[in-house]
């Protein structure tokens, strides 16, 4: 049995684990956790206490504040380490949602939370990357299950629950079990029309929804070097759907270039210092780090994939399910709502008309701005698509595009659970953004090359 709690507990720690062998071949995850815990090294299974650099919460911050209010601690211990984004139901679809946002604003003001991002700025995971809140070698714990996202920058990040976030606000610390590492080596390169989303659906389909349960996934290999920043982020983000605690990859030239270009736009006043800090902070795995499991994927072999209702690991090659009915498409979310995703859809719909409704929600205001500047928004609107406010949209069934009973949606999101988009009698298929767009053009599940 591997469990989060094996070997220790919160705050008051027992004696260190029995067999702590000298661990000379640490993974990236182990290196980051060792430094965060103030230790020379850590080994999988051991319990460590860390003070994370960043604690993430979003529209759930008001509920967390109510839990926090039950604690004797009146002030947040490290307000500068909190980051709060309003993103899950924006703009607020009901007075209740609006009141929720108002309570969060008031909390952020009262506690002096500077890293506070308003309605319309975008989805927490995308925004904290763009704003340089998280960078290489840093640690983040978030009240959101897709928190492994930040590993694409070479950070350690994991999801936790609301009560734990309240505890973290109060004490600044939390215990973690050091995860075993599953290394995924990528060789070759993806074929045209195949994306990192297809790779994730193939991996999750093959290994199962608990294929990396309690583990850290680390990506490596020359196939990774060729991947764009946008597609890397989709990769670490989706590992949440394989049960992973965290997912990461070492920063490389592509990472640094993205950070420099992006931070120069979002924080022109201090981006040089921020990059210096990231560079001094970055960590890299040792060659041949010891891992608990290893998979090698030849990217040339990956095909366009579709996850069928109602589980992410219920995935099939698109060729086996092409032709199935589709009523509506959704392109967006922290998984596939970035510029590259919107560009792929815009290229396909240019000069064509959509046979089905297509809802496009950029992951952030920066993405929306870039997509508008590149002409993608115009192309999508001309084809009949709907554009929404940057945020989560209907991803978890809150608002702005939820489904009717019996409707079939093809989505670029990360989850297709029953009821996820608000209606249990609806069906959700997951695919890459080009497949979503092609399916809305053809009116059925379709490979872009078959249009």
């Amino acid at each position: 049995m591997v469990s989060e709690f094996v070997g220790g507990g919160y705050a008051k720690l027992g004696p260190p684990c029995q067999q702590i062998a000298s661990h000379t071949m640490p993974t990236l995850t182990e290196k980051i956790l060792a430094r965060a815990a103030g230790r020379k090294h850590v080994v999988p299974g051991e319990i460590v206490v860390i003070e994370p650099d960043v604690t993430l919460s979003h529209d759930n911050s008001a509920a967390i504040a109510q839990i926090f209010a039950q604690l004797p601690h009146k002030r947040v211990k490290f307000p500068e380490r909190l980051a709060i984004t309003l993103d899950h139901a924006v703009p607020p679809p009901s007075p209740k949602h609006a009141r929720n946002h108002a309570e969060i604003r008031e909390f952020a003001r009262a506690q002096g939370i500077q890293q506070f991002y308003e309605v319309g700025r975008g989805i927490c995971h995308q925004v904290l990357c763009e704003e340089g809140v998280v960078g290489p070698g840093m640690t983040l714990l978030g009240a959101d299950s897709h928190s492994p996202h930040f590993g694409w920058l070479g950070a350690f990040s994991a999801g936790i629950g609301r009560s734990e976030v309240a505890a973290l606000w109060a004490t600044g610390q939390l215990w973690l079990r050091v995860p075993e590492t599953l290394r995924i080596n990528l060789t070759g390169s993806l074929r045209r029309g195949v994306t990192s989303k297809d790779l994730t659906l193939a991996l999750i389909g093959g290994l199962g929804a608990d294929g990396a349960a309690y583990m850290a996934v680390e990506f490596a290999g020359e196939g990774l070097a060729k991947m764009t920043p946008d597609s890397r982020a989709a990769l670490t983000n989706m590992m949440a759907e394989m049960g992973a605690k965290s997912a990461c990859m070492p920063p490389d030239d592509t990472t640094w270039r993205w950070l420099r270009d992006t931070l120069a736009r979002t924080r022109p006043q201090d981006y040089e210092q921020r990059l210096d800090y990231f560079e001094a902070n970055a960590l890299y795995p040792v060659a041949d780090a010891q891992v608990a499991g290893e998979q090698t994927v030849d990217l040339c072999q990956v095909e366009p994939m579709v996850a069928c209702p109602h589980a992410v690991d219920n995935s099939f090659p698109l060729s086996e399910v092409a032709g199935r009915r589709v009523d509506i498409g959704f392109i967006g979310t922290c998984t596939n709502g970035r510029l590259e995703d919107i560009a792929a859809a815009a290229d396909l719909v240019s000069g064509r008309q959509l046979r089905r409704r297509l809802l496009v929600i950029p992951a952030s205001s920066l993405v929306l701005r870039d997509a508008a500047e590149a002409g993608h928004i115009t192309a999508l609107l001309d084809a009949g698509a709907v554009i929404g406010t940057p945020g989560c949209g209907p991803c978890m069934g809150n608002h702005m595009g939820v489904l009717a009973p019996g409707e079939v949606c093809i989505s670029s999101a990360n989850r297709n659970f029953r009821g996820r988009m608000g209606e249990p009698a609806a069906e959700i298929y997951l695919a890459n953004p080009a497949v979503v767009a092609a399916s809305c053009i053809a009116g059925k599940l379709t490979h872009p090359a078959d249009l």
Partner: protein
């Protein structure tokens, strides 16, 4: 009271947080016990909320609670009267959330195929055993520190008591 008896609700593998507590309610229902209990397992078993009784337990397969980090997926069961969730395995955030909200979570793959809805099951925390249908199934003891959080009624009560 180390031995307790319970009525079983039996479910399969990969019971995810969206069917335990639908995402559409996450920002409108946070702490109201009646509302939380009313929507428990809504998209999985519509009969559950009306018929669950104080002290019942869920027995389910692998990867129970995968998906969202929403804690209502734990607290809705607590308010519905559930005493424990016994599963082949748990998704990690769900396991943490369960303990942190005082819901007993026991990993015991061997019992999963041996009980059905309506069966009576005994939990023996001292012996680390589950008993049902004349058979017993052992589970790994919970580390002391974790037991302390659980026994305090969750992490908030635990931290408050420590301060």
């Amino acid at each position: 009271m180390t031995k307790t008896t319970h009525r079983v609700w039996k479910y399969g593998d990969n019971i995810n947080t969206d069917v335990i507590f639908p995402g559409k309610y996450t920002y409108t229902i946070s702490h109201d016990p009646v509302q939380l209990a009313r929507h428990a397992l809504e998209d999985l078993d519509p009969a559950f909320a009306a018929r669950a009784q104080e002290g019942d337990v869920i027995v389910a397969g692998r990867n129970f609670g995968n998906g969202s980090s929403r804690e209502q997926a734990v607290t809705c069961l607590v308010h519905a009267g559930l005493r424990a969730v016994i599963a082949g395995s748990f998704a990690r955030i769900y396991y943490r959330n369960a303990i942190n909200n005082g819901l007993l979570a026991i990993e015991c793959p061997s019992i999963v195929d041996c009980v059905e809805t309506g069966d009576i099951l005994e939990i023996d925390m001292a012996a680390h055993e589950l008993r049902a249908g004349g058979r017993s199934f052992s589970f790994a003891p919970m580390p002391e520190e974790v037991r302390a959080i659980l026994d305090a009624g969750g992490i908030i009560a635990y931290l408050s008591a420590q301060d």
